[in-house]
Symmetry: C2
Subunit: 231 residues, 2 copies
């Protein structure tokens, strides 16, 4: 894969962590942000961690969109719909948009260990409703700890990928397995994202209760169901 990955909202912990892992894997990443200066400063920080060969830059979200057809949305839920409406003219048919958003109750002043109901069923389905026709939405990476992503350790977590477009599922699975030890699992239709999103709130609750950085592994599926780095 030699596509440029644009991480929208990439200055937040989840976006920065994913960007860091992909840059380390040799991918070309654009950090997108409302503020181009902040985006560039995050890109600089990643380059410092990875080294001079790092292919990472920073720009305003709309410019990042214009420069890539592989978008990763990592804004907090309360900013998701507004950003998508704003970016609509910049989203091109044929693009793949990987949605990492989780509708945590923290978005409306509640707890991060609870979720709020989304009319469409999930944050990812809300996204699917807001993007122009021809943009494929795929939900993934919601359960991976941002703290772990921003560190140096391998990531002990499976990524369940949900989309109605098998091509988009494939793209997200390929990006997932660029993160050491992550396994990608095809989770079926985009609607299944509603459960995967909930799991994030459960993991946050476990993290608070037990003081950890929880992740999740699916057991009991045949080998072929798990795509991993080695394969």
């Amino acid at each position: 894969m030699s596509r440029t990955i644009a991480v929208l909202g990439g200055t937040g912990p989840a976006g920065t962590g994913l960007a860091l892992r992909w840059v380390r894997a040799g991918e070309t990443v654009i950090i997108g942000s409302r503020d181009a200066v902040r985006a560039q400063s995050t890109a600089d920080a990643i380059r410092q961690q990875v080294g001079a060969q790092a292919k990472v830059s920073g720009m305003e979200n709309a410019a990042a969109c214009a420069a890539s057809d592989l978008l990763v949305l990592t804004v907090p839920f309360e900013g998701q719909a507004a950003l998508l409406k704003q970016l609509k003219p910049a989203l091109r048919p044929g693009s793949v948009l990987i949605d990492v958003t989780v509708p945590l109750a923290a978005s409306v002043g509640g707890r991060a260990s609870r979720t709020i109901g989304v009319w469409q069923g999930s944050a990812a389905q809300q996204t699917a409703e807001l993007v122009p026709k021809g943009v494929s939405v795929v939900a993934a990476f919601q359960n991976v700890s941002a703290d772990v992503l921003n560190g140096d350790d391998d990531v002990d977590c499976d990524v369940i990928v949900c989309s109605d477009d098998p091509r988009a599922t494939q793209v997200a699975m390929e990006l997932a397995v660029k993160i050491p030890r992550v396994r990608a699992i095809d989770g079926g239709k985009l609607e299944n994202a509603r459960i995967v999103e909930q799991i994030t709130a459960l993991l946050i609750g476990l993290n608070i209760r037990h003081k950890g950085h929880g992740g999740m592994r699916i057991t009991g599926l045949p080998e072929a169901a798990y795509k991993s780095f080695a394969k």
Copy 2:
């Protein structure tokens, strides 16, 4: 622990599988069913698998309730509320009721890979509303594959235990770790069962898609968060 465990709805796959594992671990188990004859026949089948030393019997649900203050509810969601209303006079204060129920859409003719909304938030919270005061409800075991439980292999799955009564959480965790390789994790309040219940539908969807017997492990928590057989 030397308490008698009454598995209500214990002739179904989940109930039979849990009963089998606990009988194997030396626990005393009563299989409860609407039909005492079916309950006894399930108990006989378990005794045949485990051996003559097996402490297992079968009786009608209400009689099973009367004989135990440690109840495990394993009926399908569509039978849950009616059974609890019927059993109410038999449920004694001080009892612990472990609820394994998941509100699968299959309960209303839909898919087992989807759930239906429960007004109280989860099947377990519906149970909490229906039991007499003084009965402690704890949600657990929803994600353990019935197929795996009914076999001979170790169970590669964590059990997340949710309750508003720490004593009930403790009891359910002790029962969980009697199943070889199961780890029990305190999942906090009963309301968190709403996420754990959803995970079952996700696992069923993965089982259908990938032809497996999916389970779930939580990673990234400190050792002390996991209660297991050895400890």
